[in-house]
Amino acid sequence: MNVEDLQAAHRAMLVSRGIERYCVEKTPHWYAGLGEEATVVGTFMSLTREDFASPHYRGSLVIGWLRGRPLADVLACVNQRQGSPTLGRLYGSFAGALDYGVMPYVTMVLGPNLAVAAGAALAFQRRGESRVALASMGDGTTGTGDFHETLNMAASMRVPCVFVCQNNQFSISTSTRSMLACETIADWASRYGMPAERIDGNDVEAVHGAVSAAVARARAGGGPSFVEALTYRHTGHFAADPAVYRSAEEHATWMERDPIARAEARLRELGVADEALARVREQVAEELRGAAEELDARPPLTAADLEREEAPVHV
């Protein structure tokens, strides 16, 4: 990443953290993406606006913002007011942003979002387009039949699809290591005949580098690839989950590996001044405050909104 791209990634991670904190404030049941910002931002910055995104739900709201959805509308996903992208019909982290090419997590069941991406990729391939589809997943999703079925199909059809595992090391309370019969998830994926690597998911440059290479390969007709980004969930499964199933030492170790602090350290190395970093933090905080205020002035959703229907969007 050049310094401008890293600055953009840093800013996007701050926005992501702000969005997630806002959501946690609104509901203690929020499946918070705190701590996983480098994986989510690095992954979805690697796509163009024309590419199709079928993300995992955790930390997904920033993806709409990356593609141009106004911040107030992003926050509306959780506070049930007018402008909420699905008119409040899908819980915020599942809402996607279909008008921005981001597939909602409609099933609320793990797995189908992977095959949905492969299906979009199949359409791009059959129509001879250069668009790419990308699906992300948590480590928990890799235990499902759909994970194995979809990787097999995508590889055998060589569709332009990229798979990214946002491995935060826990499926709800269960440690990934204890429940998956593989060395690494990337190793598993490689057995389906696609390039696969595990990278440091708290290093936004590493994520962006690996996913960009996979996207370029898919776009060039090289078929699917798999990236496993190893990261860590700062909260429990949902914000109020006390996460009694993991040790304080482990948690403290990973808090020190915070992806935003890490990007800031790297930016300092590249000559960006502390004051400049502080200014970005203030600007992002101000934007979030402004969006939240704008949103609070909007009327709430009502039962009448059940009757509304928007025009279909060409995705």
């Binding site: 008119l87 797995g111 992977l114 095959a115 299906g119 509304r308 025009a311 995705v315």
Partner: protein, 335 residues
């Protein structure tokens, strides 16, 4: 290349559906076939015969045996502008795809307030038949799901017009082809422009004394019963639902208003089934009935394998005739 559009041959239901699919695939190159064994094998029961030969790998996408993710794949293709027909070999496999059909394809439009649409057909074969495998009738699982249109044609002409409408529809359609009817009868079918509307029932036989609401194979069974009853002076009206979700309330209520007697017949289980829904709607409408509604459906057991066992569970013409005599108060007239 000759097609039925000009010559109007008599086709089986299987041939008629293929005829409709071929016309739609020629007309719209976004129509894509996705499923297992569609190429050299030409689909289960030759359900895709000739399509790979004509349209090739670009349009006929063969998948491994993974119905669930293949169906989700169809949804992904549909969301970005294709019109996939996902082939699920037999209805016994439908529970495997409950998640992508019910929770994904059928939900997307409402859950995105109309922004996303899934113009996709899920095509399968069900019901008892000469093939004697995969006979379970799961349609009610899917008629219960909001957002889904479920079609079960009873004859070749309707089947062709309905598959064409299903392919052109903007929302997902589950299209169930009855195995008994598949190759058994021939009928002249409509041309390229004959569409049969989704959601509309048809009167298969007019009659004044009682209405049989039914679909699929049981339409024929009811027609046979009606012929017997006509000799006794009882005139049965047979209403072929064609689309079992959403139900054509208007046609059902209009027929019952004329005959004032209701009998619902289907191969599928009576409990929680389409017949129970029809009876509920008619009863709640306040329709004045001369006799309590009668429901003929399968008992609460899976469809068994051996012929004498499974045949005993099917609705019969004699059973429908007996129900009709009971409804009109003519038991004494029974032969």
């Amino acid at each position: 290349m000759s097609s039925s559009t000009t010559t109007r041959q008599a086709l089986t239901m299987r041939e008629a559906i293929l005829d409709g699919m071929r016309e739609e695939m020629r007309r719209d190159e976004s129509v894509l076939l996705i499923g297992q064994d569609l190429r050299a094998f030409e689909g289960p029961l030759k359900s895709t015969e000739g399509l790979w030969e004509e349209f090739g790998d670009a349009r006929v996408v063969e998948t491994p045996i993974c119905e669930s993710s293949a169906t989700s794949m169809g949804v992904g293709a549909a969301v970005v502008g294709m019109r996939p027909i996902v082939e699920i070999m037999f209805s016994d496999l439908m529970p495997i795809v409950a998640t992508p059909v019910i929770q994904l394809a059928a939900n997307l439009r409402f859950m995105t307030a109309g922004v996303g649409r899934v113009p996709m057909v899920i095509r399968t074969r069900g019901g008892d038949g000469p093939y004697r495998a995969h006979p379970q009738n799961y349609e009610a699982l899917f008629t219960h799901s909001p957002g889904l249109t479920v079609v079960v044609p009873s004859n070749a002409r309707d089947a062709k017009g309905l598959i064409k409408s299903a392919i052109r529809f903007e929302d997902p359609v589950l299209f169930i082809e009855n195995i008994f009817l598949y190759n058994a009868y021939r009928m002249e079918v409509g041309g390229e422009d004959e569409l049969v509307p989704l959601g509309r029932a048809a009167i298969a036989r007019e009659g004044r004394d009682a209405t049989v609401v039914t679909y699929g194979r049981s339409v024929r069974t009811a027609q046979t019963a009606a012929q017997q009853l006509a000799r006794e002076g009882i005139e049965l009206e047979v209403l072929d639902l064609r689309t079992v979700a959403p139900l054509d309330d208007e046609a059902i209520l209009a027929s019952v208003a004329r005959t004032r007697r209701l009998i619902v017949v289907h191969e599928a289980w009576a409990t929680g089934g389409i017949g129970a829904e029809v009876i509920s709607r008619v009863t709640r409408s306040g329709a004045a009935l001369e006799h309590p509604p009668i429901l003929l459906g399968a008992p609460d057991v899976p469809v068994p394998w051996a012929e004498p066992l499974r045949d005993s569970l099917l609705p019969t013409a004699a059973g429908i005739a007996a129900a009709a005599r009971q409804a009109v108060g003519a038991e004494a007239a029974a032969p």
